[in-house]
Symmetry: C2
Subunit: 392 residues, 2 copies
């Protein structure tokens, strides 16, 4: 196991009705004037936004609002939020929504206290300081409610990039599974896929002797395997929603990913797809993961065989472990298809003729002169092209 | 799943040589004058104490020292520590040692800022305020490095009781697995047993639909099952020590125990044994757990069968699940014996003639007028007596 730091100081208020605690929590974590940041109409229609405002009112906390966050959140709205916060002297950002809204809030929080362009952080600068952020989560997916990360798409070139720093870890996150019950089947499945991807990205490691994190990751994928069919069968299954929601947080606050190298190839390759075609991140991952895993299979057959046996219930082929490894990847893909995810470029709305450009942007688009991606297997442009072709 | 709060703001510095960061970490978390609290000679002999002092010196942090913590830490030393901190105007407690030292440090931290007798907290008063505590852990066992709990034995009657409060969660914990390599086999096995007990106490629940925490708990017991034999075979196996050390923290900071009722019967019954006979807590748990589980088996046969199959590799007896459930408890006991733990009263040094008194103190000793213990199955004195008799 490698040396590591782990720090996850977010306060989680989990369960039915917990959005009523927003005001108290903002006060507890030092806020006195709040920006409520949110996305589209569902938060308004469901009455959630009103309940959040009521809670802030009860705590006598003044607030301003900024809606309009879209999936794959854009830099334009971040600039708008930064200006609004400065003008209104906001000292606390409350995100009400899913990963996109939380990521947009984190970007605003970092940008308000920074003299330069907030996009610097998305080009590799570590976030040292930010306004405090709280969240009321409405989608179990991105894990942004407990993570130090944010992903934003720059409209100047539609480039999707991530930034990180402990300063943008939420001070608190309200996780009420009821709020996710109105989420349609497709978005629910996209969220489930994203959670599974966060687990695979950590599972695919070159670090030896990491049984504790291997086992923890496996336990969370096993949870998704059990709970996802329940929720797809009944979108209002509170208990299944609750299990998935906690799994989504634990999957991504990194308590199960410490002390080991991680991969993130699937995310890097997928980000190009959702940036260019504006498809759902989870849907993109469903198509990307099996292709990446098949391409990287021979790098560590036994690792893929291990997850096949321990998670997907495959029988170990001791004479030919590669068969088991492949069977596990097939089982993952079948599972994702069973919950309604796409399986190839066509179903995703991606185009074969863009592959060269996608692979180029993936490998060189972030000023990465080396042109190499991937923590598990180093991949160059021609590898990434081959992976995109496996998705056809 | 039940509603819950989860808050684990401890900064974990994990890996080789991390005790060198002590000074920086005390500064980061606001300390300016430190009490170094420790136990016996091993911390001195190994040179650890010197390295800690060197780190504080480098950070220009003045400190005073208080050694002498013993296993099952005593109230007398806590009073001494409180007086010393007040006299020396200490504002940060640094525990260098195992769970006993950390628990003693937490008690001092709470006592210094409290006008009454610190023992009030161990009679049920919630700890709202305390000096900040940091830890340098030398034994993977109690999980106190990431928990809001402390257990102290009052020398007035040898009564062992716990106290809790987020205020005593360590600000930081240094987890260097190398520091545990000098721990003898018996204490190592006691620590492993304590970690497994923390997991069973959470596993035995009456809350339905808790797949995510069930799976997480199982994954940690599976880790202990794999890593414990490695470390018993080679006490200097860094990698096995590292896996056990992280598992010990995750097992007890409650991330795997949220949203479900918990048991803690084995701990309550064991505390009487280690208080009266001064035996190691882990050794007491090794004898207590199988007896408690056999006694409570019929309350939820399928829960015991589930852990038997998922963790201990038993084949499910579909015609008679109770067979599987019993097989799993037997497998746990065999495992504990295999790492050198005692199996009955005699090996523990406990006496049959004390049983009535032990059961009485267990059920009534904390001013519990109802006389009932146990979160999984409510037990009264005659049940507890019967459980002690199963340990003969």
């Amino acid at each position: 196991m490698e040396n590591f730091n782990f720090y996850s100081p977010t306060f989680f208020a989990f369960g039915k009705g917990r959005e009523a605690d927003c005001g108290t929590l903002v006060r507890r974590f030092g806020g006195s004037k709040v920006l409520i940041h949110y996305g589209g109409g569902s938060v308004v229609r469901s009455g959630l936004l009103d309940r959040v405002k009521e809670s802030l009112n009860e705590a006598q906390l003044p607030f301003v609002e900024l809606g309009g966050v879209q999936p794959n959140p854009r830099s334009g709205l971040v600039y708008e939020g930064i200006d609004l916060c400065k003008k209104e002297k906001v000292d606390f950002i409350l995100a009400v929504g899913g990963g996109s809204t939380i990521d947009s809030s984190k970007a605003i929080a970092a940008g308000v206290v920074y003299e330069g362009d907030f996009w610097d952080f998305y080009q590799g600068k570590w976030i040292e300081e930010a306004l405090p952020v709280g969240t009321v989560l409405t989608i179990a997916a991105a894990g942004s409610e407990g993570s130090p990360d944010s992903v934003i798409t720059n409209e100047d070139g539609m480039i999707k990039r991530g930034a990180s720093g402990d300063a943008i870890r939420p001070k608190f996150s309200v996780l009420n599974p009821e709020l996710t019950e109105t989420l349609p089947a497709y978005q629910t499945a996209c969220g489930i896929t994203d959670i599974i991807a966060h687990l695979y990205e950590r599972y695919l490691t070159n670090t030896k002797d990491v049984e504790v994190t291997d086992r923890l990751i496996e336990s969370l994928i096993l949870t998704m395997k059990t709970e996802a069919p329940k929720v797809m069968n009944n979108l209002e299954d509170y208990e299944a929603r609750a299990n998935i929601m906690w799994a989504g947080m634990v999957a991504h606050n990194n308590i199960v990913g410490v002390g080991r190298s991680q991969d993130w190839t699937s995310h890097q390759i997928e980000h190009e797809l959702s940036a260019l075609y504006d498809c759902a991140h989870g849907a993109g991952l469903a198509v990307t993961m099996p292709a990446v895993f098949i391409y990287n299979l021979k790098h560590d057959v036994m690792r893929f065989a291990q997850i096949a046996v321990r998670v997907w219930g495959c029988q170990m082929d001791f004479a030919n472990p590669e068969n088991t490894a492949r069977e596990g990847i097939k089982a993952l893909q079948d599972f994702l298809i069973s919950i309604g995810m796409p399986k190839n470029f066509e179903e995703l709305g991606a185009k074969e003729e863009d592959i060269e450009q996608l692979a180029y942007t993936c490998c060189y688009g972030k000023g990465n002169e080396g042109g190499t991606i991937g923590g598990f297997v180093p991949l160059i442009q021609k590898d990434v092209e081959a992976i995109y072709r496996l998705m056809l």
